[in-house]
Amino acid sequence: MTFDLQEAKREKANINNGKDSRVLTECATCYACEEYCPYGNHPFYLIVERQEEKGLLPSPAPITRQQILMMKPKGTITPMKVTAPVIDMCYFPMLTGSIREPLYENPSIIVGSDVFCNIMWLHFARNSVIRDRLPKVIENIWHFYLRDSGVDELICFHDECYASFTHLASAFNIEVPFRPIHVFEYISGRLDALQGTIKPINAKVAYQRPCSNRLIPEIQHWVDEIFLKIGADRVARTYDRENALCCGQVLRAHQREEMADEIQNRNLDDMKNAGAEYCVFNCPACMATLAEAAAEKGLFPIHLSDLCQIALDGNAPKG
């Protein structure tokens, strides 16, 4: 969306006052405004609230309803003893192969629909689903896994989980009885412990910063530290850090195909033109969306965790 300052102020006031605004139908749900707001007023969460109040769906109703059904907790969670480090893989069982030695030391892994973080409903104008499901998810993690195991820290592999349990939960007044730790913080610590075994990858990398990271910009420094430790040169490019572009998959869900094509091409061309060899991902959803297109442009798509594994043991990920 493009505004001049006056229009921007006017539209923001409309949103604040519950009036109609073109923002409510044109928002790409990239979360950037949550990062930009210097006052912590949660402008994006308010947009989502207004969308739901007014019945303004960014995505067609059948797709919205089906996604809500698809990601429903199955209620199949059972108690399991865990030991630290406990790695929360959200609803990505297909990625548990990434959690292996030497980077992850004797991890316990939790995964499944009953621990799905539910932050994705921000893209679908469904704060109500977050309010309904997130408290139960937090309770599941605490009661079925952490509490009785005497563990009070949870390492979030998925950026969205960390954002959900910190930034989002706080904004929605949902209590979180455990301490979420971002996987990058854990990885950075492990790289220090394994310093002597690191074989620097000596490659240029482009980093795909996901939308959820806009909610938790405070963790960004871990990314730079990790790259430094593994000998990766993060290329300077236009669409990085505060200027990051979303992967575009949500835009496709919103039926905005041409916009999604345009930003994906712009993003990947930017990586390529900056001389990147790897396209490094934080978010599994971004990776699923962009990996093939990145590979077609000659970039090696890889999750940051797996890139660190290469630096430690030279092995490509399984799966």
């Binding site: 995505s59 067609p60 059948p62 797709i63 089906q66 429903k72 039926q255 195909e257 699923a288 990996a291």
Partner: protein
């Protein structure tokens, strides 16, 4: 029959004839619900000449002959309802000619879908045929002569529409050629001669044995994609299909509805498959298809699923291997379906019918439809899974199939590749003069009534 056994052994060689209990058991039924009917002999010819001799022998002795491809029709059409000889055609599986410029393939009748597909991929990667979603072991001829459909049917119609010519052994033993091949070395069209192919399409093998056929081939594009359009209101589906097919850029338009997994119940998913020579062309086609249903997207009543490319692979696979998995839904190795050929406008009633029967008869189901031509008709399928080790479960599926067939007919559709009970329902509904004409045609072609008897007879 012993005498015939000896004669058949001399024709094809003793290793390709069997009256052993094992073959009689296996060839007595297909994977559907129809009960076993054992043949007396199973024979596997290797050439048209052998087929001719077999048919002449059968005719002389008035022994029934049942032609069979892979036996995957699922409605029991290759069972020997009155005993006799099952003719397993699969030894005749040579690919005789691929004519690139005229885009046709000439194959023997036992050639499998998979082998033709593999042959084209290796030797003529710019060409493909319209493959059904039947397993790759299914034969090209079997599918054509039951009016099958597949992955090019939106562009090209029924697979019988894609037929260029036939070589057939008549029940009386003559070998005839139908189409341009009757006068020419080329098998390029059925026109402009009087089209005799209709005497052998949809007749369940009751009018002769197809030994060779030529089918149309289509461009095989290097770039392929699929859009899955989702909605919840069956009443808008006919127009959605009308709009999408009106762009005429897709190759296959197939809608699927299933109660499992839970998130799929109540939703209609319309797969639109298309291909292109370049990526730009692919994106152009995508946008064109999308614009055809823009009004539904704008009012949020439908939209395309945001599938990353790794999740699209199952919708781009030809044939779709996962469809066989439906047979294991009841952990019983069985499914059978009513494929109803219907006008697209009755999609809502057809859909409601499926829900009603599944609910009333408590059967595991899956539904969908494949568009034939430019919305000219649809093959709407009602698939019911069953456990073949449980007679009650088989009976339940049979009940659902029978009820579905009846109600399809009432609705104005026609069951495709109808099993024996469904044939009776169709005959009851059919114009009597039409059925009489069928009978007269069969009498002329097959005066001794040897070809797959028990089918299309008024009981």
């Amino acid at each position: 029959m012993d005498n015939i056994y000896e004669v058949l052994s001399e024709i094809v060689g003793p290793e390709f004839v069997s009256d052993s209990p094992e073959e009689k058991y296996i060839y007595s039924m297909d994977p559907g619900t129809m009960p076993a009917c054992e043949p007396d002999i199973v024979v596997m010819p290797g050439s048209t000449e052998e087929v001719q001799k077999i048919v002449q022998t059968a005719n002389a002795h008035r022994v029934p002959v049942v032609p069979m491809g892979a036996g995957l029709v699922l409605s029991g059409l290759t069972r020997a309802l009155k005993g006799g000889i099952v003719l397993d055609m699969k030894r005749m599986n040579r690919i005789l000619e691929i004519n690139k410029l005229s885009r046709y393939a000439l194959v023997e009748a036992g050639t499998s879908q998979g082998m033709l597909q593999a042959h084209l991929k290796k030797h003529f990667p710019d060409l493909k045929h319209s493959a059904p979603d039947a397993p790759p072991a299914a034969t090209v001829a079997g599918n054509v002569c039951i009016h099958g459909s597949g992955h090019m049917s939106h562009a090209g119609g029924f697979h019988s529409d894609m037929l260029n010519g036939l070589e057939v052994v008549l029940p009386t033993g003559e070998v005839v050629r139908i189409g341009s091949c009757a006068t020419s070395a080329y098998w390029f069209a059925r026109a402009p001669l009087p089209d005799l192919s209709g005497l052998f399409l949809g007749w369940a093998g009751t009018t002769g044995v197809i030994t060779k056929l030529a089918i149309k081939l289509y461009p095989n594009y290097p770039y392929n994609d699929v859009g899955v359009f989702v909605c919840e209101d069956a009443s808008i589906v006919p127009d959605i299909l009308y709009q999408i097919t009106g762009t005429q850029v897709a190759e296959d338009v197939t809608t699927w509805m299933t109660p499992k997994p839970d998130w799929a119940a109540g939703f209609m998913h319309c797969n639109v498959n298309y291909g292109a020579k370049t990526k730009q062309e692919l994106i152009w086609k995508r946008n064109l298809i999308r614009s055809a249903v823009e009004s539904y997207i704008d009012d949020k009543t439908g939209g395309f699923l945001p599938l990353p490319s790794m999740m699209k692979q199952r919708f781009l696979e030809v044939p779709a291997r996962q469809l066989s998995l439906f047979a294991d839904v009841r952990k019983g190795g069985g499914f059978e379906y009513v494929g109803a050929i219907m006008p697209v406008e009755i999609f809502p009633e057809a859909y409601d019918l499926g829900l009603d029967i599944a609910d009333k008869l408590a059967v595991s189901y899956s539904m969908g439809c494949r568009i034939i031509g430019v919305n000219h008709s649809m093959m709407f399928f009602y698939a019911y899974a069953f456990n073949r080790a449980d007679p009650a479960d088989i009976a339940r599926a049979q009940g659902a199939l029978e009820e579905t067939n009846k109600r399809v007919l009432d609705m104005g559709g026609v069951p495709w590749k109808a099993e024996a009970p469904a044939q009776q329902e169709i005959i009851r509904k059919m114009d009597p003069n039409t059925f009489d004409m069928m009978h007269r045609v069969r009498s002329i072609l097959d005066p001794n009534g040897i070809m797959n008897p028990g089918n299309w007879e008024d009981n």
